[in-house]
Symmetry: C2
Subunit: 345 residues, 2 copies
């Protein structure tokens, strides 16, 4: 009692009472840094020690506290992923590609959804920075100015996916402009002459607009103009059917509709079947994405397939390489696209 250090009942923090590293260390008769090493770089610990520590971990039922580890190392194993929508299967498949790859390497995805709202993107970016994310995946190359500044100043790897161009850091995607051109070239080559482009929500979803621009430019080179039908609602089958009706009404000479996505195009096909409109004889339709449903309907849809899961996988592989300090061969990866010619054109 000479120095009062014992402090009989000083303030107590709750402390989750579950076992910590030092409990394991005590049990294994090593220091806690050794336990930490067993967890993080097992090769740097002698095998006999490692086994003793692993036994102690099991015995005390230790569950690693990732939060403390992240704080101490200023690096979480979080990967921030920002997509514009979860209603669109495309992004789900990209997320699956990301998740499979990241999970295999011990990273956890933090998922953010902007609903095609650029301000939401900035908020999400700030939130994810606060979580000390190790890397960030975001959709598209266009960002609100404040958001772009934040991203540029962030010292960790970033990959912008889906589209190709002038990226902040890494870039994995495809040229939507070329995809639009490619499909329209197919339509012209097949003999269609009166084309209408139909899409939804083309303000927010500007990649659909890029495809339209490819379509429009190619038509311009052939001296044709490129009528465009737009809807504000998200794509669904009913909108596709509605589009077919509107085109037949408003542009009766049309012989092919270039849809912005397969949901719309499939909706048009199903509507045509229901109303005795022959596809492609009365009117041809084509889509974009390569969804299974488009390949299951009769007539089978002509579309452009993009390797969605591969985009996720490649993006994840690039980021893991960067995080682990390995070199990345190419900053920009063009995953390409494939024209699937079905029976609808």
């Amino acid at each position: 009692m000479t120095d009062g250090r014992q402090s009989p009942e000083r303030r107590r923090r709750k402390g989750s009472d579950s076992p910590t590293l030092s409990d394991v260390a005590r049990e294994a008769e090593v220091s806690s840094i050794t336990v930490s090493r067993v967890l993080n770089s097992p090769d740097s610990v002698r095998e006999s020690t490692r086994r003793r520590v692993e036994a102690a971990i099991d015995k005390v039922g230790y569950v690693r506290n990732m939060v403390a580890g992240s704080l101490a190392s200023a690096n979480s194993r979080f990967i921030a992923v920002i997509v514009p929508s979860l209603s669109n299967v495309v992004f789900i498949e990209v997320i699956q590609g990301l998740q499979r790859t990241f999970e295999a390497h011990g990273y956890q995805i933090l998922l953010g959804n902007t609903d095609y709202n650029m301000e939401r993107e900035r908020e999400l970016v700030k939130t994810f920075f606060g979580w000390s994310s190790s890397a960030l995946v975001t959709t598209g190359l266009r960002h609100e100015p404040g958001c772009a500044d934040l991203l540029r100043q962030w010292p960790k790897p970033i990959v912008e996916i889906m589209e190709l161009g002038d990226a902040i850091d890494l870039n994995v995607g495809l040229s939507h402009y070329q995809a639009g051109r490619c499909m329209t070239r197919h339509l012209l080559d097949t003999g269609y002459r009166h084309l209408v482009y139909a899409g939804t929500h083309m303000g927010g979803n500007y990649r659909a607009r890029l495809r339209y621009e490819g379509h429009r430019d190619l038509l311009a080179e052939h001296g044709q103009d490129a009528p465009l039908l737009e809807w504000d609602d998200p794509s669904d089958f009913a909108v596709g059917g509605d589009a077919l009706e509107r085109v037949l009404d408003s542009y009766p000479t049309t012989d092919a509709i270039h849809f912005a996505d397969d949901i719309l195009a499939t909706g048009a096909v199903l509507h045509a079947v229901r109303h005795g409109i022959r596809v492609p004889e009365d009117i041809a339709v084509c889509g974009f994405t390569g969804l299974p449903i488009g390949q299951a309907v009769t007539p089978r849809l002509t579309t452009i397939a993009s390797p969605r899961e591969a985009i996720g996988r490649i993006a994840a592989e690039q980021l893991i390489a960067r995080i682990e300090g390995r070199p990345v061969e190419q900053d920009r990866v063009d995953v390409g696209f494939e024209l699937l010619v079905g029976d609808s054109t």
Copy 2:
């Protein structure tokens, strides 16, 4: 040099060099706990002080470090969410319901995917505990024994979704057994007498099996047996078409197929259209889920719709109430289901 305390150049940690709470505190001339309060319970700070702190936050460009906060408070704002699959739209919609609700309250979802593998569930649970999650959402009531023990001992709120029954903590879902019975009653009432049930992956996806059991028991009450066709692959349109063929081959007297989900049933409808098989005259089909595609095909699918987004929303609301210490009216919420009678039966 009497006590060596000065240590001219002691070890330095990297320290992310971005501004911290104390930078803000210095700028605003308050203590850091006051800044913390502005962030966490603004009402407990006088307005003039709060405004000064907020200005300082903007001035120094402070981004909150959630990791440090989580460690200090032993409570992250993470919600662990475990689903068996991301390929199935059902879970995507549930996740959307969860995410919308949680994001509005400042929680971040940690997403885990078991791929219908129960051991993966246990691993995910451990990982998520390590992230100090504030609550956990998991799919179904069946867990590997070790996982169930972990869950039971965990001191934070848990909700088991999709199915209804004997839950660990909270429970939001519907009775798949009753849904199966309901559909089969509809088939019998409509006059069908020779039924086959067809589903995929019914080991892992045992909720499809529960629906089959409802179907089987009702038929047993009518003195009929209940043939079952199973596939190991996940559901897709092709498997649905294949099922239709197999039933026509192996059970030629069959007048209705009860499919485990709408993907299969839609695949069967599309296959029938393609091959001139009349639905429901030659054979009736029905599904489960209420997917948009089932309502867009001709004939429109008879199915059972479940309120998937509502499951997510309600689960999230319950958890938020629990986390914030508010009472939860009922531990078990039956969201019910709705029979949608289409033209396929």
